[in-house]
């Protein structure tokens, strides 16, 4: 369910909360059946009002300095390729990349899924505040439409930041048509058409 329009059109008292989820897939990023690795990372650029990780829909979103930019919506001729940047000062993202590259060399989290969730402060869980949520009633279904993107490539990895380029899930580079080659044993007329 989306956020009612009148809540978004108010002049004040709107606080947009941006949450990120990083989903890894087997067998690219971890061995199939390996339950010891984390397969879903949750991030938010900040903490809640009691100085702990923000909680939405009973899920805890780890506080890490991160920034995503370049999300576009609308009728552009080119598809948006947003960039997401995480702080890497203690090597936290290098560690994730190291684990992934041990499974698939040179993978660098390619094909992993980044989901951006946006909601308002009044729909956050009560656990984020001293007492109940002072802005409104918690409701995990009230959010703007999720943006789901795939990681296309790693742009920067140094001792300060780790940055990735994201692509639309239908904007895959290595996908070719036809996906199957049709030969005469599957379709007898193949190769006999003559176009004039």
């Amino acid at each position: 369910m989306t956020i009612p329009v009148e809540q978004l059109q108010k002049l004040d008292n709107i606080t947009i909360i941006e949450l990120f989820e990083l989903q890894l897939f087997d067998p690219i990023h971890f061995a199939t059946g390996d339950t010891s690795v984390t397969t879903l990372y949750r991030f938010h650029n900040g903490t809640n009002e009691i100085n702990s990780d923000i909680i939405f829909n009973s899920n805890s979103y780890t506080a890490i300095a991160c920034q995503a930019e370049g999300f576009e919506s609308g009728d552009n001729t080119t598809m948006a390729r947003p960039t997401i940047t995480f702080a890497n000062t203690v090597g936290n993202f290098s560690t994730i990349l190291e684990i992934v590259n041990a499974q698939t060399p040179f993978n660098d989290l390619q094909k992993a899924q980044i989901k951006r969730i946006r909601t308002l402060a009044q729909f956050l869980d009560h656990a984020n505040f001293t007492g109940d949520n002072p802005y409104g009633t918690p409701d995990p279904t009230k959010k703007l439409s999720d943006d789901t993107y795939e990681i296309n490539k790693k742009i920067i990895e140094n001792n300060q930041v780790c940055s990735f380029e994201l692509v639309n899930t239908i904007d895959s580079e290595d996908l070719t048509l036809p996906r199957n080659q049709i030969t005469k044993d599957r379709f007898p007329a193949a190769g006999s058409f003559v176009f004039v």
Partner: protein, 122 residues
Amino acid sequence: MATFNDTTLGTTTGATTPAYSSVETASPKNITVQFGDGYKSRNAFGLNQNPKSYSLTFNVSLADGDKILDFLDARAKDSASFTFTPPHTSTAKQFICENYPRTNTYLNRVTIQATFEEVFQP
């Protein structure tokens, strides 16, 4: 998490109370859009967008000044935040201090001008 007060630092009573004329600065981060007349749309982006900053002056003896500097040096070393109750408030908040020049004003007297910036972290 360490607390910036007389008990933790071991200073004489009142040494960690800043002198008068301390400055409290607030600069809330809001996204503001205004076209034309008085209609202005203001939104915040995320919680905790109003970190306070305090410019504090401590006029203390040399021994107390050393203890204050030792405390701030230790925080610079472990890059941890500390709790401090700002002047004329009752609730303690979390701060970091990245700038604390010391001036030798007189025999056995020093002045420390520290800038405490509020942080929101576990």
